[in-house]
Structures are given as structure tokens and as C-alpha cells.
Amino acid sequence: MFKLLTGNEAVVQGAYEAGIAYASAYPGTPSTEILENIAQYKQEIIAEWAPNEKVALESAIGASLAGARSMAAMKMVGVNVAADPLFSFAYSGVNGGFMLISADDPGLHSSQNEQDNRYYAKFAKIAMVEPSNSQDAKDMVRAAMEISEKYDTPVLFRMTTRVCHSKSIVEMGERQAVDKKIYTKNLQKYDLVPAVSRKLHVALEDKLKKLEIFSNETDLNYIEWNDKKIGIIAAGIAYQYAQEVFGEKASYLKLGFTYPLPMDKIRAFANEVENLYVIEELEPFMEEQIKAAGIPCIGKEKIPNIDELTPDIIAKVLLNEKRPLIDYDNTIVANRPPTLCAGCPHRGFFYELAKLKNVMITGDIGCYGLGGAEPLNAKDCCICMGASISMGHGAQKVYNKFNENKRAIATIGDSTFFHTGINSLMHVVYNRSNTITCILDNRITGMTGHQENPGSGFTLQGMPTKIIDIAEVVKALGIDHIRTVNPLKLKEVKDAFTWAMELDEPSVIITRWPCILKKLSDQDKTEFGNYIGTCKVKETVCIGCKACIRTGCPALRFNKETKKVKIDEKQCVGCEVCLQVCPVKAIERVGE
């Protein structure tokens, strides 16, 4: 049977077929759908959201040691969080087969940087495979498991946005029965104290040599002979792009196993072709190693290392080909930036936050990052997940030391707080800071499309579970000043800021209201009720001052001709934020 699957769906099918029994992840584009889909195999696979990527990886390592085939999945920046266990796991090796999926995002569709995680394989000294379409993605899971168990190595399974989120045809297979391996206590392998690791490092270097021999022999790395004037070495999506552009006008060395590289095979291929191109998206990962091996090739002197690679870029830089385009003036097209949804509980919070003077607002990763955009403009910076609280702490310390009358206000989400914000808040308390931390608890992981988290009451596979209460956690960390507010009530938010700004000690403001797109749980319905009704502008009263427009709600529209505001009743959910900011009470609630 054949099915049209995304790369992420295909990996899941591969994991199912390869007998994987444990999978964990923290959501992040473009990796999120992997765990969402694997969760369907409730009988066969334990699938869990972890609070962060390090925890996900470590749990999967534990599952491997216990004898099961296991995996962890994350976006590329998540691997930075999980790097600590990864590097040492390379030393100990596996019991049950193990792979770490890194889903990279060239072109930054939904990320804060454009890092190329292939370097992690070389840096951590582990094997790597790179699928170039969905069929590869499915097949390479089984290959990864076999390599992992045979060579006692974790495997980096490196994907990119266009592999993860593109659909192509996959031949489906059956689940392979894989017995759980027997675990034998072995401190010389699993207990990484210096005396053990010294020996394991020697063994690791030996493993890499054996893996290079494998790399030269495996069918994952194969040659397609065509015209020999041009030879192309490519892996992942770049291989598809190269085929798109050159077709049968070039020969290919298609690499599926990309660390260690098959240098003998590469040399043999290079000797047969007149011109050797190494076509890579992002960094010259392969090219550097090929050149270091003394094999001349053309790569990044022509192909850019910035942004997504496309067939058009390859055609332009290597063949000087350009397609004719429609000539037109597109300057009249207006921008369409992403916005907070109508009824988003973050809106009221950021509207009040933006009014505060002498503050540095540190941001974090999530929908609430949009609070920094027009017209709310309530953000100074954003670096990575969990950083808002710790960066705020550092800034506050400096303001205090230099007697600068300024306060740091950190804004972080519920899932993000559980991710790494908790540690940062511990730092704030321990080191006697006086920052203001705002935890925007919308009862779900929002931006990535509604994944459960430790505060939401359900596991990934739908089991009801304990709700970890953020206010109790914050209290237990030693915060003495905590307020929970309804972010739709502007006065509550404003009063909380006034209260916090007057304190000389650290405080936490928790805004608690569900994401407007969330499918409410029974507990949510009891706590928050259901939205009923919408808001409406009384046109005779509206003075066209645009105060409501400055909340940035996409349901509101200012009509330039009538100089009045109109509310789109299809979008409005009656959150009443606009109603509260109107100076002439021109907005009323309709329906109950």
C-alpha cells in the first residue's frame, strides 16, 4: 500500500515498523508532528511530551539502556538544550537502538536562528543519517536502529523543514517484532566517571573508524551514473534540488549516511568526473571535510550558506539559468504579519505592559512574542526559550548596581516556564534579585498548535494526569509576592503592575486564561465558562479616536471614510478588551 505522507509522518511510520517502543520530545517547528503522530500507537509505543529537550533526550537514553528501541525528537535549537547528555551518551553507547531527530529550519520559517545541526554529529562523534524525502525518512529509521545497535552509537537523524513538511509517496510496511534487549549492569560502559570515560573515548574513536568503513560500504550512499562531465555530491533535500536542476546531465553520489563521510567512495567518484560539485543547504559541512581530504570540489564559493537553498539558486549559480518572470509592480501589496488572534488572552496583558515607563521587557519563545510587534510594542529582546527570566535578572542586577531607576520585566508562557523558566526563577530568588516575572498561562502550548504540558492536565497519549500548579511551584521556589490575574480585565493587570513595581523583592504575576483556540477541557469549562456573545460598536457614540485599534485586535477595523470602528462579528469572541479601552463607552456587549 502507498500513502502520501509528510516526512514527519513517514518517520513515525518508520518508527512503528522498526519496533521503536519509547519516544519523547518537546514541541518545536518543524518537528512537532512527529510525536503528535507517534502518540496514536498507544499499544506499541510509549510517547511522551517532556518539559524540555534535555529531559526528552535523557528519558530516551534511559529507555535505550533498559533495552528498548527509543528516540527523541526536537527542533534544531532544542538540540542545544539537549547537548549535554548527547555528547556523553556517545561515549557510553546504547543498549536498545537509539536515534535523536534534529529538525532544522533553513530559511527560519519559525525559528530564531539558522544553525546547521549536522555539525553535532561530528562534534559529538556519533553516526548521522539524512533523509531526502518521505520514503527515505521511513526507511532510514530502520537503518538507524540497525546501525545504532551494531555499532553501539546514538544516531543523529537529521531532517529539515522541507523534508519534515513536504509530502511524498511512501510504501507502507508492517511492524517488525523487536524483543527488548536484556540489560546487564555494566559500570565500565554506563557510568561515565573519568576513569571509565578515558577508556570509552579510545573505544569511541575506534567506533568512528568502523563507521567510516560502513559508510563506504552501505547502500545508503550510492552512485547514479549519467554524464560524467559534472559529478554532484548531495544529501537531504539538496539532493532533490540537484536532481531537479541537472537531471541526467550529471552523475550523483547521493549520501544518506553523512557522518562519518564515505571518503573512499567520494574519492573514487571524484576521480571519474570532470567537475565535482558539493551541493549543500546552509554550511559547507561535507565540503570542508572533502577539501581537507585533498579532493578538489566546488561548493560554497558559488552556493550561498544563508537562507533556504532552492533549485532556482542552484540553476542560477551553477548554470547561469533564469526563468522568465511576469513583470509587475508588487509594491502595492500590503504586509501581512502574524498577529495575536481576536480574543487572545495575551492582548490585554501586553496593552497594559506597554504603558509602563523605565522598564526592560525581556521576551521568550511563543505566541506572546507577538506582543513585541505593532501596535503593542511591549518587548525589548528575545534570545531563546527560558531566557526571559534569567536575562531580566542580569539586567536588573546591573540597573541596581549603577543606581539606574529601571525594572526588568520578564514575560514567559506556561509551557516555557516548565521548559527552563523554572531554573531561571530559582536564580532570581537565590541571588536576591527584584525582577518582575510574568507567567502568561494560557493553559496549553500555543504557538506549535496546542500540545499538552505539565500544567494542562493531560498526557500526550490522552491520559488525565496531575496538573502542576504554577503558583504553587513559584511559591515553593521562594517567591513571596505572587498574584494571579485575569488578563482580560485590564484594571486587574494594571493594579498588578503597580503593586509589583512598588516591591523591592522579586514578584511573579500569573495571567491565567485559556488560549482562544484551545479545545476547553471539563476543568477549563468549570473555571472559565464559555465565551458567549460578541462586542459591537455604537456608531453614533464612536468618536474615531482609535484607542481600541491600538489593542491590535484583528476583529477591529477602522473605516477611514466614516471615521468609525467596526467589529467583525465572525472573529469577535467578546473578550471585552476593546470595550475597556474605549474612552466614550461606544462599545457594548451583545448576546449572552
Binding site: T32, S110, S166, S168, Q240, L370, T448, K546
Partner: protein, 194 residues
């Protein structure tokens, strides 16, 4: 790859471009074509501009469509058609929904929704302007606007030989089959007249 056809679906997050891409690509696969489809998730969901790219033929390599490469551009929103027009072949076809969704700067009154969008497109390429929102509302479900446009797409690409009604039924929620098939037929019919 001369035999490969390229369909570019564009719109605004939440308009149902992904469903159309799914129906289209599944139907093409069942008809024996090699198919690839690419979409972008994440940040773009929040009211941003979205695209869904479908390529089919005997053998397809790249899942993405380059500038000047699309055989047809189906835009679920008027202004988006102009944003993506450079991806269309100069002799390609445009199917444009006569439906405006103002973006944030327009809602705030900072700029106006551009006038003359449809005229610019019509002056450049073979264009079918469809009032899909109106048609869908008349049928009783405004959300089936995407399937009305799908009907026009099938007509525009001469893909009427495939049993799309069966594919639609398989890919929409139970109970919504009939209304979506009515929308599909309306889309076919309206493009007949253009």
C-alpha cells in the same frame, strides 16, 4: 522536468488551503502520478500569508515551486494573488477569489487595502475571478469557499477525469461530504461560464 505540473495555492492562515492541497495531492496520487506537496506551519498560522505547493508528473524531485514556475496560481484572497504572482509562469493561469481579508496594518488604518489588484492580475495573465465566498454562503456554509476554488482549479488544470467527489468525501469530516461536493460542483460550474 518538463512534464511536471506545478500548482500553487496561497491564502491567509485559516482559509483551508491545506485541506485543498491534501485533496488535490491524494487524488493525483490515486490517479497514478508521482506527487509532492510542501507547506509551511508554525508562525504563519497566526493570520499570516500561507502557501501550499503541489507538484505532479511522472517523476517529481523538488517539493517546492520556484518563481515563474507555477502552471496555475489559486489565491484564496485577492491581495495574496498579487504577492505570489511572480511564482506564476508568464503564460500560466490565475484563479483568484474575489475576497478581501485586510491585514493588520490595513485594520489599523495605517494603509489602505490596495485598489486594482484584480485588474493588475487580469492585465498580465489569463485570470478567472471567482466570487467563492458568495457562492459558499449561498450554499449554506461559508467555510466551503476553499472547495469552490478547488472546483475552479480542477477546471483550470483540466483534471476533470479524476473522481474528485470520492476523494473529497474521504478527506472531509463525516456529515460535511454533501455540502463540500455541492461547493465543488459550484466551483466547476462557475468556471465553465468564465
Amino acid at each position: 522536468m518538463a512534464d511536471v505540473k506545478n500548482i500553487l495555492l496561497v491564502g491567509v492562515g485559516g482559509q483551508g488551503t491545506i485541506l485543498v492541497g491534501k485533496i488535490l495531492s491524494n487524488g493525483l496520487m490515486d490517479a497514478g502520478y508521482d506527487v509532492k506537496m510542501s507547506e509551511v506551519h508554525g508562525m504563519a498560522q497566526r493570520g499570516g500569508s500561507v502557501s501550499n505547493q503541489v507538484r505532479y508528473g511522472k517523476k517529481v524531485y523538488s517539493p517546492i515551486i520556484g518563481k515563474g514556475q507555477a502552471d496555475i496560481l489559486v489565491s484564496f484572497e485577492s491581495m495574496e494573488a498579487l504577492r505570489w504572482l511572480e511564482y506564476l509562469k508568464p503564460d500560466g493561469k490565475a484563479v483568484v477569489n474575489d475576497h478581501r481579508i485586510p491585514s493588520a496594518p490595513i485594520l489599523m488604518g495605517k494603509i489602505d487595502y490596495p485598489e486594482g489588484v484584480l485588474e493588475v492580475i487580469q492585465s498580465k495573465v489569463d485570470t478567472a475571478v471567482i466570487k467563492a465566498a458568495e457562492i459558499a454562503e449561498q450554499l449554506g456554509n461559508a467555510k466551503t469557499m476553499n472547495i469552490v476554488l478547488f472546483g475552479a482549479l480542477v477546471k483550470g488544470m483540466a483534471l476533470t477525469g479524476i473522481d474528485w467527489e470520492a476523494v473529497i468525501r474521504k478527506n472531509v469530516k463525516a456529515g460535511l461530504g454533501d455540502i463540500n461536493i455541492a461547493a465543488f460542483r459550484a466551483g466547476l460550474e462557475v468556471s465553465e461560464k468564465i
